[in-house]
Amino acid sequence: MEYNEHKPIYLQNVDLMQEKIVRGEWPEEERIPSIREMGAMVGVNPNTIVRSYQLLESQDIIYNKRGMGYYVKDGAVARIKENIKKEFINNELPLFKAKAEMLGISKDELTKLL
């Protein structure tokens, strides 16, 4: 797994896990790898992976079934998409808009390209 330069590793692992859920590789209401298994899969310290699981648990993406492990929560895909959409609107769209304006690309032109 390749990591980008700026995000802390536990957040990059959150991205990876969310991607697996959204793509259906880890379906809702099914068990996901344990913290140790995940660490071994990506070559990351399990103590770092714990932070990813805690964050996803606090966001109602995954939950812990006592004695059974972690499961993807019902409705997780919709919640992840909502989160990513917010991030896109708040962080990426303003940069995109600024660049389009700088280059003088009109709305019509953009619509055609999209």
Partner: protein, 266 residues
């Protein structure tokens, strides 16, 4: 737990460790960093009783390594940077060494050697540096000791083996183990570390968990260095800088930059 108090060591009249005190706790993977010659390898040798010091104390679970008691030695394993290996096959060597380690897992050893693509019937003397290194690392992990000391473990490993090594160490980690990795190749192991210790001859310059470092410092690459930056280095894509983290947003630690910063303020 490892407790080091006021430890000093000298090779005849060359002092390498001077009044060092620190602890290593269970369930963590430590990155032990330091410039050449500050005594990282010496520290490992002191920790496993290969060297003894006249000044200061080391206790591992309350026992001094200098006594070299079998019960104590069965809990630790040290992989030196330049492991030569004897003139015998890997399987015979492992069969002998594993006698002293009650938690040895033969099936795990076979699996790790398979992942590293090493033939167990080969003699160490017929292997390349990287192959010898893979064989001894597989054995070290399969011995399942409470304490594991790895001196420059990725030195000599080829590119795919480095990723294999990270996966193996992550898989081997549990709350009872303490793994200390000394390295200059920080990029090879940074994802494994949850604690960073920077050693100097006369002091431990930094001894902090990765999450505490992320809370305290902000690592950035930007066109111009932030006005309040603590440390700046030019790099590709702009200035690499360290500032105080005032927003609570966490960034990825640039260990090389951190090392240079910490050494610049000592």
């Amino acid at each position: 737990m490892i407790e080091i108090k006021n430890l000093s060591f000298a090779y005849s009249n060359v002092k390498v460790l001077d009044n060092i005190s620190t602890t290593f706790e269970q369930g963590r993977i430590y990155g032990l960093l330091g410039a050449n010659g500050v005594g990282k390898s010496t520290m490992f040798k002191l920790l496993c009783g290969l060297l003894t010091s006249k000044e200061g104390t080391i206790e591992i679970d309350g026992v001094s390594p200098a006594g070299r008691k079998p019960g104590f030695l069965s809990k630790i394993f040290y992989v030196p940077e330049d492991f030569e290996g004897p003139d015998m096959s890997i399987e015979n060597y492992a069969a002998g060494v594993s006698q002293f380690y009650p938690n040895y897992d033969a099936a795990l050893f076979a699996r790790l050697l398979g992942e590293f693509e090493i033939d167990v019937t080969r003699k160490f003397t017929s292997l390349s540096l990287g192959q010898r290194k893979r064989a001894i690392l597989a054995l070290a992990l399969a011995l399942r000791t409470d304490y594991l000391f790895l001196d420059e473990p990725t030195n000599g490993l080829d590119i795919p083996s480095k990723a294999e090594f990270r996966r193996m160490v992550a898989a081997a980690m549990d709350e009872n183990r303490t793994i200390i990795i000394s390295t200059h190749q920080v990029r090879d192991v940074e994802n494994l570390l949850d604690h960073i210790m920077i050693l100097d001859k006369q002091a431990v310059l930094l001894d902090k968990s990765v999450s505490d470092i992320q809370k305290e410092y902000l690592f950035e690459v930007s066109a111009a260095a932030p006005a309040d930056a603590l440390y700046v280095e030019p790099g590709l894509g702009g200035c690499c800088s360290i500032s105080r983290n005032t927003t609570g947003e966490e960034s990825r630690i640039n260990i090389e930059l951190l090392f240079n910063y910490i050494n610049s303020i000592k």
